[in-house]
């Protein structure tokens, strides 16, 4: 949107100016309050342990040092946690994209009995809070002997009703003629899906991918329950949560670990802001 000022009504420019001034003041104060935790996280990560224990605390690091970053890297296997999370999040995201696209195509372009009923049943599962399925799903995982494996972190979440719903909307937006003429030319469902429908539904794919990836990256409760005995398969959030308990008083190290944890997502967000904001405004889903 443009930055052109709103036309002011004659006779009240001073009110306009006052309103603008107050607006900027409010935004500045609000913005500072919102940004402050990020500043404090970074500032603390650059302090020494002695400096974090000063009363009253220092508002900025007196002698900024990056030493904490090296220390954190040694104190806990964060590289491993990162690799685990990236691997898990990529598998989950790829899985959701594939399963959702297949199912969405069936709902959008094939007439079959039970289509309506199944679709409604799927949508109804969106009402189930995660805490309710946590216990039965954990027991299912133990029956499958999947506890403390990557399978437990990945497989249950490789399908997403939200993904199916969204991709179906996008597929319905593609003119039917495209599918009809493709079918006349002897083009099968999968060929149509991968050659024609998915390239046209790319915005939908990116919404589903961003929301799924973010949810998987930030998940804590499920990993906390299914990964208990093998620290080497912990995803990053669980690694960070454990680190905060183990290193309780070493706030400089905890803040350093927190900076490391959010850095990849923040960088990704700043690079692809528009897609992030639109995806999330559209969905309201967070893991």
């Amino acid at each position: 949107m443009s930055d052109t000022p709103r036309p002011t009504l004659p006779g009240r420019p001073w009110r306009q100016r006052l309103a603008d001034g107050l607006t900027y003041l409010a935004l500045l104060v609000g913005g500072l309050a919102v940004a402050f935790p990020f500043y404090w996280m970074i500032a603390t990560s650059l302090k020494t342990h002695e400096e974090t224990m000063r009363v009253p605390p220092t508002l900025y690091p007196l002698a900024p040092t990056l030493a904490n970053y090296a220390k954190v890297w040694e104190a806990a296997p964060f590289a491993r946690y990162f690799a685990n999370t990236v691997g898990v999040a990529l598998c989950v995201t790829l899985g959701v994209l594939i399963t959702s696209s297949l199912a969405a195509h069936a709902f959008a372009r094939i007439r079959f009995s039970g289509s309506q009923a199944i679709f409604v049943a799927l949508l109804a599962t969106l009402m189930i809070p995660f805490e309710v399925i946590l216990i039965p799903d954990y027991i299912l995982i133990t029956r499958l002997h999947w506890e403390d494996t990557y399978l437990a972190l990945i497989v249950p979440w490789m399908a997403s009703v939200f993904g199916v719903f969204l991709m179906r909307q996008f597929f319905l937006g593609i003119p039917t003629e495209l599918w009809e003429s493709a079918a006349l030319d002897g083009c099968g469902h999968l060929t149509y899906l991968f050659r024609i429908a998915l390239p046209l539904a790319r915005p939908g794919l990116s919404v589903v991918a961003i929301v799924t990836f973010l949810g998987s990256w930030n998940a804590l409760l499920w990993p906390l329950v299914v990964v208990t005995r093998r620290p080497e398969i912990r995803p990053i959030q669980l690694g960070l949560a454990v680190f905060t308990t183990e290193f309780g008083v070493y706030s400089h190290l905890i803040m350093t670990a927190a900076v490391l944890t959010i850095l990849p997502v923040v960088v990704l967000f700043l690079l692809a802001q528009r897609q992030f904001v639109e995806s999330i405004a559209r969905t309201g889903v967070k893991g």
């Binding site: 709103r6 913005g31 039965p136």
Partner: protein, 311 residues
Amino acid sequence: MRNRVLRDHATAYLLLLPTLLLVGVFHLFAIFYAFYISLHKWSILKESYLGLANYAALITDPEFRQALVVTVWYVIGTVPVGLAIALGVAVTLFRPIRARGFFRTLFFLPYVTSLVAAAAVWEWMYNPDYGVINLLLTRAGLPPLRWLLEPTGVFRLALDPIGIALPEWAAGPSLALVSIIIMSIWSGLGFNVIVYLAGLGSIPRELQEAARVDGASEWQVFRRITFPLLSPTTFFLVVIAVIRAFQAFNQIYVMSPNDPTTRTLTMFIFQEFYASSRVGYGAAAAMALFVILLILTVAQMRYGQEKVHYE
């Protein structure tokens, strides 16, 4: 022709198979299984059938009741206050100002930040001795507080200094819970702002301009035109925010794992299941949460159909 229909059915169900299998097992079957578990004495393994005894025990369990009260305070604290702040920010950002994109990004940033990392930072800021919040309070001439470590109700804390001693039932949510609520509002703000901005963008400008030409003040324009026309957006956000508030876990787990005044229903379920291995009892509490949410959501939908103004 018949062949074609058969083939279409086969194809459709084949395409649906992965989704149906996963959602069917880990969501649909899971909810019936949760109910089955809740009918049993079940610690690590199934022990004996109890019927509805777990539910009966829940009703008389003071800890469960406290968890309900804490959850209600948490919802009251995060939803109306959080949405009011978000609406204010959105209306401000909607004005034709400079650096709008910058502020939008800034307000959204907490939302993409993991709750675990954010909670760790807030816990550190709330630290009574080394925390920056008490530093700012004392600089401003106010008394320092114990924040996450303060189990006393905020109403009692506020009225004690002027000599009014409130009874226990009127003490209000603990300062520890309010501290978590403040952090949660910060964390969810960006999402609410973005959705409100989208809502504001869909309101026809002509109505507001016409009212201004007729001499209506900015407040009147907001009160009589903008806010009523935003009601579908507000409604959507309230429904989502209530569901989310009932399910909040990560920040509470990190910031205040063992304080009963901050133990919400979700924490209660988690602790029964995880720490105490009372799986059947935890499942019963989870079913209770499900029923409460279901009733609330249906009630909101009903109310929405009557009151929400759609164009």
